[in-house]
């Protein structure tokens, strides 16, 4: 009887959408789960915000922040500061790791774009797509340190290759590619192959089909692949630890310094703050580009 009544309500089409949130939202023990979720988010964001606050505090290592100052930034960037007679290990040496990190991140991004553009459109349509995907996602399923040691032992001891920037780039690519590929697959598995037929039918050559049809439609995936490649490489640590010669990337630099004595910690705070802000800004831009465009198009559609 209720079933029939329910059917009738559902058939009344329009009444359906609001019905769903009534059904689940209000009756599950909502408030508890919401509180827990945002509490954990607070645990994630508190250290980030606190880091920023401490980075402009004169006494960042104790109790409550106060006596606002920018001297740590000044010290970090120009390396003039001295404290308790000890020259900062950090001072003025940030530029080199920063440039190296940017360079490797850019290379990783480019590699991710090219590779996901090669694999992404075809993978959903080949026979062994399941096992192949599993293979490509391997780095996500192996602890970073294990994968990193494996690569090191294979290339250094197995193939007797000298580590260097190439191996850093390779390690970063191996780490970032699974993410880039997944991002590309979200777009490419929806790509309608018939559009390529249509273009060919209208006289477009192979290259024209690629550049004028496939690339523009896969643009969000290409962008995401590049973004993943860049940021994941920029902040990558476990793979970098072994897959380098003497090269010091920014995360390695941070890692070494943060393990060292306390006097350089305030500078680490300042540096971390800068990196964090840069990463957040880049992420926001990426989210805007990813979600912003269809929105703008929808608005345009509504106007017309």
């Amino acid at each position: 009887m209720t079933a029939l009544a329910e059917r009738g309500r559902i058939d009344g089409a329009v009444a359906r959408k609001p019905a769903r949130s009534q059904l689940i939202g209000e009756r599950w023990p909502t408030w508890g789960s919401v509180f827990i979720g945002y509490f954990v988010l607070a645990i994630i964001y508190f250290p980030i915000l606190w880091l920023m606050i401490l980075s402009i505090s004169a006494e960042p290592l104790t109790g409550f922040p106060g006596d606002w100052t920018l001297r740590w930034y000044d010290d970090m960037l120009y390396g003039t500061g001295q404290r308790e007679g000890e020259a900062y290990a950090v001072a003025g040496r940030v530029m080199e790791p920063l440039l190296l990190s940017l360079k490797i991140a850019a290379i990783t991004a480019a590699l991710c774009i090219v590779a996901s553009l090669v694999v992404g459109p075809i993978l959903p349509r080949v026979r062994f797509r399941g096992p192949m995907l599993l293979g490509f996602l391997m780095p996500l399923m192996v602890p970073g340190i294990v994968a990193s040691v494996s690569l090191f032992l294979f290339y250094r001891l197995g193939l007797h290759l000298k580590m260097g920037e190439w191996s850093l780039g390779l390690a970063h690519f191996i780490w970032a590619f699974p993410f880039a590929l997944l991002a590309m697959l979200v777009v490419s598995s929806r790509f309608d192959e018939r559009l390529l037929d249509a273009a060919a039918d209208l006289g477009a050559s192979r290259w024209e089909r690629f550049w004028q049809i496939q690339v523009p439609i896969l643009k969000p995936g290409i962008f995401a692949a590049g973004f993943f490649g860049f940021l994941l490489s920029f902040n990558e640590l476990p793979f970098s630890i072994f897959m380098r010669a003497g090269d010091i990337t920014l995360p390695i630099y941070l890692w070494i310094q943060s393990g060292a004595h306390n006097s350089s910690v305030p500078l680490i705070f300042a540096l971390s703050t800068l990196i964090t802000i840069a990463s957040i800004v880049l992420t926001f831009i990426a989210i805007r580009v990813a979600f912003g465009e269809p929105r703008a198009a929808k608005l345009k559609a509504k106007k017309a």
């Binding site: 037929d197 249509a198 060919a200 039918d201 209208l202 006289g203 049809i213 198009a297 017309a304």
Partner: protein, 382 residues
């Protein structure tokens, strides 16, 4: 059954002269196509005259779309004798070098381009100047009664509009042949009927060759100059709509063309084109429309449409031959405009169409039809 030989026999001799004038614009010879173990096309040959509206009709899996894609160059056949388009050999030309364009079933409009950019795409890859492109796109829009939609995004269009844009996009490059792959399949009933009329008008106005793929016998009958009916990768029958409709060659064709009553029996007598068959003691006569010459004793199928059956006894004064079969009445099915009356007769259940709702059906003990209204067909080779 080689259709090329059927239509324009001598074409292969002086194609150059003929094709520039009135002759054949398309010729496909001995196309074979396999997908793995499945044979999609089993040695099929077709030809189309310049300006013809040719329909490839068949159910899904009959090979009609594969054949169209082979003509377009989108599918490379497993083996092919020859493809000639507009007098030039196109056997090994890729799709982008062929002078044909396709209207796809689901439109395949480029989602990242505006309506105008979509229509201009074929001109763009032909390196035609921007101004010229825009001019011709506007003309095409006007032709399809879509003026003013040049800057629209594709996703803002209705199904019917998308269909017209797809047509405009295919026409703007002035192809030798326009290929249409179930173009009305995704539209709703009413729009489909309107578009049928519009397509037919467009065809007459442009004088262009249309090759049209559909599974709908109604669409095929309404629009075509000639129909090629396909089944399991082979051609079963080809000819003008009236011929396919009235003179089915095999039981399958009759069934596909929605002939309601199919009575299988053995041939008892052949008198020129009139064939008498017997089924469950009933003897019936009809004109032979089957493939090979009818032979006494062979199996055949008498086909008769429900609306050609008349209830009661045949008029005694009739000068032409009629068939008369006794029956009992079965269920009556209400169809709105008419009634379908089921009849039980020795040869099996029969469906008759009644237009007069007040007609008393209970006392009916037989029905009849003019022998010329039925046809006797071959059975299908498996």
């Amino acid at each position: 059954m080689n259709v090329a030989a059927n239509s324009e026999g001598a074409s292969s001799v002086d194609r150059g002269a003929a094709s520039s004038g009135d002759g054949q614009i398309l010729e496909v010879v001995n196309a074979i196509h396999r997908f793995g173990d499945v044979t999609a096309l089993d040695n099929v040959s077709i030809a189309a005259r310049r300006g013809e509206f040719l329909t490839l009709l068949g159910e899904s899996g009959s090979g009609k779309t594969t054949l169209l894609r082979i003509v377009a160059g989108l599918e490379r056949p497993t083996s092919i004798g020859r493809i000639t388009i507009d007098g030039a050999d196109a056997t090994f030309l890729p799709a982008n070098k062929r002078n044909t364009t396709t209207v796809f079933q689901h439109y395949a409009l480029f989602p990242h381009m505006s309506v105008g950019e979509n229509i201009e795409y074929g001109l763009r890859v032909r390196r035609i100047s921007k101004e010229e492109r825009k001019k011709r796109a506007e003309q095409a829009l006007e032709l399809m009664r879509l003026s003013g939609l040049y800057d629209r995004r594709v996703h803002q269009l209705s199904g019917g509009q998308k269909q017209r844009v797809a047509l405009a996009r295919a026409l703007v490059t002035e192809p030798a042949i326009l290929l249409l792959d179930e173009p009305l399949g995704a539209l709703d009933e009413k729009l489909r009927i309107d578009m049928q009329v519009e397509l037919k008008e467009l065809h007459e106005r442009l004088g262009l060759t249309f090759i049209y793929v559909t599974h709908s016998q109604e669409e095929a009958l309404t629009m075509s100059d000639r129909i090629i009916l396909m089944r399991r990768g082979r051609i079963v029958q080809e000819g003008p709509p009236a011929e396919i409709f009235d003179r089915p060659a095999t039981r399958f064709v009759a069934e596909f063309m929605n002939v309601e009553n199919l009575i299988e029996g053995s041939i008892r007598g052949v008198d020129r084109d009139q064939v008498t068959i017997e089924c469950a003691g009933q003897v019936m006569t009809g004109p032979w429309t089957g493939r090979s010459r009818p032979e006494v004793g062979a199996k055949a199928c008498l086909v008769i449409r429900a609306e050609r059956l008349k209830l009661g006894a045949p008029p005694t004064s009739s000068s032409e031959p009629v068939n008369h079969v006794p029956c009992r009445t079965g269920a009556t099915i209400y169809k709105g405009k008419y009634l379908d009356q089921m009849l039980e007769c020795p040869a099996g259940p029969i469906k008759a169409r009644i237009w007069d709702r007040a007609m008393p059906v209970e006392q009916i003990i037989g029905f009849w039809w003019r022998a010329a209204d039925s046809a006797v067909t071959s059975l299908d080779a498996e």
